[in-house]
């Protein structure tokens, strides 16, 4: 079997599981399956992250066009503009990223297909591993499926930046969500340019020591 055929089979199998196999087997879905596939996933209030993400809800996901309008704002095209009429390509992302409209997209995330995380029927939503829809502003629940230790640390306040009050009785706290810091398409943390070093006496002495050390060699 060629690797390509194997991949197609795996994706087929995955889709089959996700949709409860209804379109292939013609079986009538049970009530629970129907609700889980149609009703978008919302985190139960009790297990929701300690504080809500500061990203405004209801922002429509879009791709950048590289153009700016006369206010100087970047012009984006909503995903649904194209994806309502286009047939989803389930292999996208496995070998290459789409050529049209997704230029500049760097993809390096464990060799998944686009539709591992994007919902094939509703591009305004994300897709959990079990096929349920997930709003973009709850993306951290999608990440949590694979990144357990990071989610555990996040929920306990020891992963991800935050601002505000340590004493929650005195004031609010805002926290970053996963995608505030990590590019979901290439999540490895990028290199940074450090800000200025100290220029005090101790730092100068160290620089002099290092210079002497280099001269001796």
């Amino acid at each position: 079997m060629t690797p390509r055929a194997a991949t197609t089979l795996i994706i087929l199998g995955f889709t089959l599981t996700a949709t409860g196999g209804q379109w292939l087997l013609g079986a009538r879905p049970t009530n629970t399956e129907a609700t889980s596939a149609e009703k978008p996933f919302r985190t139960p209030a009790a297990t929701r992250s300690v504080v809500p993400p500061h990203r405004p809800e209801g922002t429509r996901p879009s791709v950048a066009t590289g153009l700016v309008n006369h206010h100087g704002e970047a012009v984006g095209v909503a995903c649904m503009t194209c994806h309502t009429t286009r047939e989803p390509n389930r292999e996208n992302g496995l070998n290459a990223v789409p050529r049209e409209f997704h230029q500049g997209l760097v993809y390096a995330h464990a060799g998944q297909s686009c539709l591992s995380c994007h919902h094939a029927e509703d591009y305004d939503s994300l897709r959990l591993a079990d096929g349920r829809k997930l709003a973009f502003d709850e993306a951290q629940n999608l990440c949590a499926q694979c990144h357990g230790p990071q989610t555990r640390d996040y929920l306990n306040g020891s992963h991800g930046g935050m601002k505000g009050y340590w004493d929650k009785t005195k004031g609010e706290r805002t926290r970053n969500t996963c995608t505030d810091c990590h590019d979901p398409h290439a999540p490895a943390y990028p290199a940074w340019t450090p800000v200025f070093p100290p220029r005090d006496a101790a730092a100068r002495q160290q620089a002099e020591r290092e210079a002497r050390h280099q001269d001796n060699h």
């Binding site: 306990n156 290199a191 800000v195």
Partner: protein, 312 residues
């Protein structure tokens, strides 16, 4: 015999005998020494008010006296820089002891914490001063002496790890016990503070600190008026005079109001965890319970309130 002694004692014509010469010399030296001794007083008259000179130790000031002191400082800052600052006395909250933990697995060494400290605490601009020193360390070693502070390349370097070091707010602080004038002490929430107006600048505490966490103001700190942070605490980020020690206070002007320290808010990776060690539900307690934490130089017995950990 007699004749000889008379000759020796006889004053020379037009000169001065040895006794007078010594008297004059002694008086001159005495006058010079006296003028040197009172020099601080004459200098003080130029840039120090009588109130400032006679100000008591922070812990001996009544609330009314302290309010007057802080009002005087606000007025002085206004005169010198033209900036309206607000100096307050933030006291420890009952039932709170601060703890800080830092995740060395995710710190990338970008120094943004040090910069945030620099701005928040009104540090001297020319020296790039900060209470945080980020050490670039060799993997596999915790030898602080080999840590480099002046690295200048994109971070993180694959062969290094990064360790920000600031005041560890020790429970047994050697800096406090060496102070000859009790200008530095530990408060009930664990913060070691300095009364800048009581400090004599002997730098014993700087020498005693095993973490190199104290800083000395060799010059009057220069901060452009537009960049002065006007929210100031008497024991923390108010503008320091020349010749006194200063140190990290976990931003007590923020943390004693319930806010997170500036360095934590600036951290882009979330490597820093801050909270109340006495609250079993706090995030810092979760870290202490669930992560493998360690303290720096545990063997010197300082018992820090600052913890480091690696993820795995």
């Amino acid at each position: 015999m007699i004749e000889t002694s008379e000759q020796t004692n006889a004053p020379e014509a037009g000169g001065m005998d040895r006794r007078t010469a010594l008297k004059v010399l002694g008086a001159t030296l005495g006058a010079a020494a006296f003028s040197q001794a009172i020099a601080p007083l004459t200098e003080w008259a130029e840039n120090m008010s009588l109130d400032e000179y006679l100000q008591k130790h922070y812990r001996e000031l009544s609330p009314v006296d302290l309010a007057m002191v802080m009002a005087r400082m606000e007025k002085q800052t206004k005169e010198q820089t033209g900036v309206d600052v607000h100096i307050q006395d933030y006291r420890p909250q009952p039932g709170v002891k601060f703890g800080y933990a830092l995740n060395l697995s995710v710190c990338v060494g970008c120094r943004r914490c040090a910069k945030a400290c620099h701005i928040e605490n009104n540090h001297d601009r020319p020296s790039g001063n900060s209470y945080i020193r980020v050490l670039e360390m060799e993997k596999g070693s915790l030898d602080l002496a080999k840590g480099r502070v002046n690295y200048d390349h994109p971070v993180p370097h694959p062969d290094k790890f990064y360790m920000p070091v600031q005041c560890q707010q020790c429970d047994k602080p050697p800096c406090v016990s060496v102070c000859p004038v009790e200008a530095t002490w530990k408060e009930s929430d664990g913060i070691v503070v300095v009364d800048y107006n009581w400090c004599i600048g002997c730098r014993y505490c700087e020498a005693a600190c095993p973490y190199h966490a104290r800083r000395f103001n060799w010059t009057k700190p220069q901060v452009p008026a537009a960049e002065i942070n006007p929210d100031q605490g008497y024991l923390s980020n108010r503008l320091r005079p020349q010749g006194v020690m200063e140190k990290c206070t976990f931003c007590l002007h923020r943390s004693r109001q319930g806010k997170l320290p500036a360095c934590l808010e600036a951290c882009p990776t979330g490597a820093r965890v801050f909270g109340n060690l006495l609250d079993p539900e706090s995030e810092i307690r979760w870290v202490l319970k669930n992560k493998r934490v360690f303290v720096l130089k545990e063997d010197v017995g300082t018992q820090p309130s600052f913890f480091y950990f690696f993820d795995e």
